[in-house]
């Protein structure tokens, strides 16, 4: 194996591993770190299911090599849950509004939207639609996802 040593912080925890340079960050997260909340859909940057945060920004983990994340701070969907084990405001909003059907795309939506709401806590419906346009929901549950984002935005801005 063409091993490369990488050090990164994942969900607040320091991680040090030797990885194959061709390993995708999405596979590293799922298969080396067992954080299987990050889902893998298309693997070429179209569906958004694998969205995570790198250094605070939502990115597609299937379009990054694990070696590129060396020295970075990574957050996956597992980071959203509150310390007491309860859903955070965004997860709760998705639950309340039935904003998930099969749930496969949900982690990607949550990570995209959580980054978005940090920058814009009072989004218009049009801004919400643009924000989630990079995530595909094959059950076409968009109406409820939009409702959930509105509820979450309400919670944030209060």
């Amino acid at each position: 194996m063409d091993g490369v040593k990488i050090n990164l912080k994942v969900n607040g925890q320091d991680i040090s591993r030797e990885v194959d340079s061709r390993l995708l960050l999405s596979d590293f997260i799922r298969e080396s770190l067992y954080l299987t909340g990050t889902h893998i859909g298309c693997e070429h940057g179209v569906c958004g299911a694998c969205t995570i945060h790198v250094n605070g920004d939502p990115v597609r983990s299937c379009l990054m090599l694990a070696v590129q994340a060396d020295g970075c701070e990574v957050k996956t969907v597992e980071s959203l849950i509150q310390e007491n084990g309860k859903l955070n405001y965004l997860q709760q909003a998705f639950s309340d509004n039935h904003a998930l059907q099969c749930g496969f795309c949900t982690p990607g939506f949550l990570m995209t939207v959580s980054g978005f709401l940090e920058e814009n806590s009072k989004p218009s419906e049009d801004e919400i639609k643009k924000c989630i346009s990079g995530n595909l929901c094959r059950c076409t549950g968009y109406s409820n996802i939009i409702k959930a984002v509105k509820q979450a935005a309400q919670t944030v801005s209060n």
């Binding site: 340079s21 693997e43 070429h44 939502p58 590129q68």
Partner: protein
């Protein structure tokens, strides 16, 4: 689908990067943001022996004003341009166009140099660069050279970059305060590849006629195309429905779109005519609004 095996190199400077390129150029690929290259690696459409990751190379990420140009380092991310007040002030066309590049997740990683070097004819930045007659600064072990977009973009995904060269910097001419600009695009979903996109910049004389027009179209030819004949047709004319229509007709004659699963050649041609009118009108309104009458 996973990338094929490669040797991973991570230069920390431009000098180190071009040194690797001079050694492995034929067998190597440059990786910057990876938003175009990694899908190609994932699908094994590209299987380089050496992957030169310039993502950590120092001194290649900057946006600054230099004389008449806005100079942007190759590693500058789309998102940084989107957020830049300097870009908004000096080159609003670029600010407007950048929001059409991929989705936010893509713009957070994708770089300006990567987009230019990839040479996708439907990408937004090559279209803006072509409209403005900007410059691409290319580096290799022997130094730097400056290439015009016309000489740089050769055909679909093919540029004049030699195996031992990389894109170091892009120079976008600064727009006059009096000019109006517009970037319009039609895509199947916001953030997807544009079917047709048009970048327009207009300046008006005291009498209200066009004194200068810059126009480029993307998504319809094998390279982003400056519409020089349309520009010349408009200069000296009043911005009337008739001159917009003439510009539209000439545009449809000048382009050679192809059919694909997203749209037929005929559709693209018709759409191009409409989009040119739309871009010109919007740019003209902005030029009129921007003037002290």
């Amino acid at each position: 689908m996973k990338p094929a095996k490669f040797n991973y190199l991570r230069p920390s400077s431009l000098e180190e990067a071009v040194h690797y390129l001079s050694e492995y150029g034929e067998d190597a690929k440059i990786l910057s943001g990876g938003q175009s290259l990694i899908p190609l690696l994932n699908m094994r459409l590209s299987t380089p022996k050496y992957l030169i990751d310039i993502g950590r190379a120092e001194g290649l990420s900057y946006i600054q004003e230099e004389g008449e140009s806005l100079v942007i380092g190759a590693l500058t991310k789309h998102r940084e341009i989107e957020k830049s007040e300097l870009v908004k002030e000096k080159c609003p066309l670029l600010s407007e166009a950048i929001r059409w590049v991929g989705h936010e997740q893509i713009r957070n990683r994708g770089t300006v140099g990567g987009s230019i070097a990839h040479g996708d004819p439907s990408a937004e930045l090559p279209c803006v660069l072509t409209a403005l007659r900007g410059e691409v600064v290319i580096a290799d072990v022997n130094g730097e050279e400056i290439v015009s977009p016309e000489d740089f973009f050769l055909t679909y995904m093919l540029t004049s970059l030699q195996p031992d060269q990389l894109v170091k910097e892009i120079r976008f001419p600064i727009l006059k305060q009096t000019s109006g600009s517009a970037f319009v695009e039609v895509a199947r979903r916001h953030g997807d590849f544009g079917l047709v996109e048009v970048a327009a910049v207009v300046d008006l004389s005291e009498d209200g006629s066009f004194s200068e027009v810059k126009l480029a179209i993307g998504g319809v030819n094998s390279v982003p195309t400056a519409l020089g004949d349309v520009e010349r047709l408009l200069v000296g004319k009043e911005p009337t429905e008739e001159s917009y229509k003439d510009a539209s007709v000439l545009t449809m004659e000048m382009i050679e779109p192809e059919s694909d699963l997203h749209g037929t050649a005929e559709y693209r041609r018709e759409l191009s005519g409409t989009m040119v009118i739309r871009a010109l009108k919007q740019a003209t309104i902005r030029a009129q609004g921007g003037r002290v009458m």
